[in-house]
């Protein structure tokens, strides 16, 4: 018997989320009455949120087993280590 498939996630709703988040990002790029650092953190959070939505729903990580999710997760700390290691070049 073929496997029972999960119902498709609401793709158009995810698209709407991504659209709204992109509009929010572009609005943040304009001159706003708060500091550049706050703007920077907000922009990065929005970008990570969007990336998370794409990975979870479009790449179906939400519906995969943990052993496959691990393949996607493992490079992330490695990426962080790489960037931190390179940053020491100018800190020291």
């Amino acid at each position: 018997m073929a496997e029972t498939r999960h119902a498709h996630p609401p793709y158009l709703l995810i698209w709407l989320y991504l659209f709204v988040l992109t509009v929010a990002e572009i609005a943040l790029a304009f001159e706003l009455p708060f500091s550049r650092n706050v703007k920077l953190i907000l922009l990065l959070l929005l970008a990570l949120w969007k990336a998370f939505l794409v990975a979870m729903f479009f790449m179906h990580l939400k519906f995969e087993k943990w052993n496959l999710r691990l393949i996607a997760i493992v490079p992330l700390p490695l990426a962080l280590i790489l960037v931190l290691a390179v940053i020491t070049e100018h800190v020291w």
Binding site: M1, F19, A47, F58, M59, P75
Partner: protein
């Protein structure tokens, strides 16, 4: 006749063959490749972060001064739409609707090709105005603007700006181009009836690659154009 339907589901092969991760080889291979791609783009984005926020005391060009946010925002929108159309193609074939899958695949290819076209237009426009991988071209419009307003145009860091911008967006554009070519191949196979509700591995695997390229652009758009 219900009792005559195929009992083998190649989308999830029998346990002994795929005991470890419980996915088919193509998909596992694509995920491992994407993991390596994360490290590839980290090298590019990481160098950009270090060069921009650490190595130089001089500010870089402010957002919107050299690069056009409007045109790239449209491109971002286009790539997000193409990701939705790709996932709709997958959902269609998973539901057994081959015709709809072909339509969504075609929409995805068109969106991807338009993205590359707009990026080529952006590059020619930037180079015409004097923004090159080596910085602002001597005697160009941008070089004059940078000489008059050195801080907003980041006159002292134009070389780093140009080289990191063209390297990161260029490699991303190359990935999109490869995606469009691969998807055209998948589309031709779809036209020949190679995918069905029981076996649509090619659609899922090219979809994973396409969504990853979209995901990278989401990060690039924010850190290159908006910050």
């Amino acid at each position: 006749m219900a009792h005559a339907t195929a009992t083998v589901d190649v989308m999830r092969p029998p346990a002994p063959a795929e005991r470890g991760v419980d996915v088919y080889n193509l998909k596992l291979g694509m995920w491992v490749f994407l993991a390596s791609e994360v490290m590839f783009f980290t090298a590019l984005i990481g160098s950009y972060i270090v060069l921009r926020f650490g190595a130089s005391p001089n500010p870089w060009a402010q957002p919107g001064k050299v690069l056009s946010i409007q045109i790239t925002a449209f491109n971002t929108f286009l790539l997000i739409c193409s990701s939705v159309s790709m996932v709709k193609a997958y959902a269609s074939i998973a539901d057994g609707n081959v015709k709809l899958m072909k339509v969504w695949l075609l929409v995805t290819i068109l969106c991807g090709a338009t993205f590359v076209g707009i990026q080529v237009y952006e590059y020619t426009h930037l180079i015409h105005h004097g923004f090159q991988p080596s910085g602002y071209r001597e005697g160009s419009e941008l070089a004059e603007l940078a000489a008059a307003n050195p801080v907003p145009y980041g006159a002292a860091t134009a070389g780093l700006y140009g080289s990191t911008f063209f390297t990161m967006t260029g490699f991303h554009g190359f990935h999109v181009t490869c995606g469009v070519i691969s998807m055209t191949y998948v589309f031709i196979r779809a036209l020949r009836g190679k995918y069905s509700q029981q076996d649509h591995r090619g659609i899922e695997v090219i979809g994973l690659y396409w969504h990853f390229v979209d995901l990278v652009w989401i990060i690039l758009f924010t850190i290159v154009y908006l910050i």
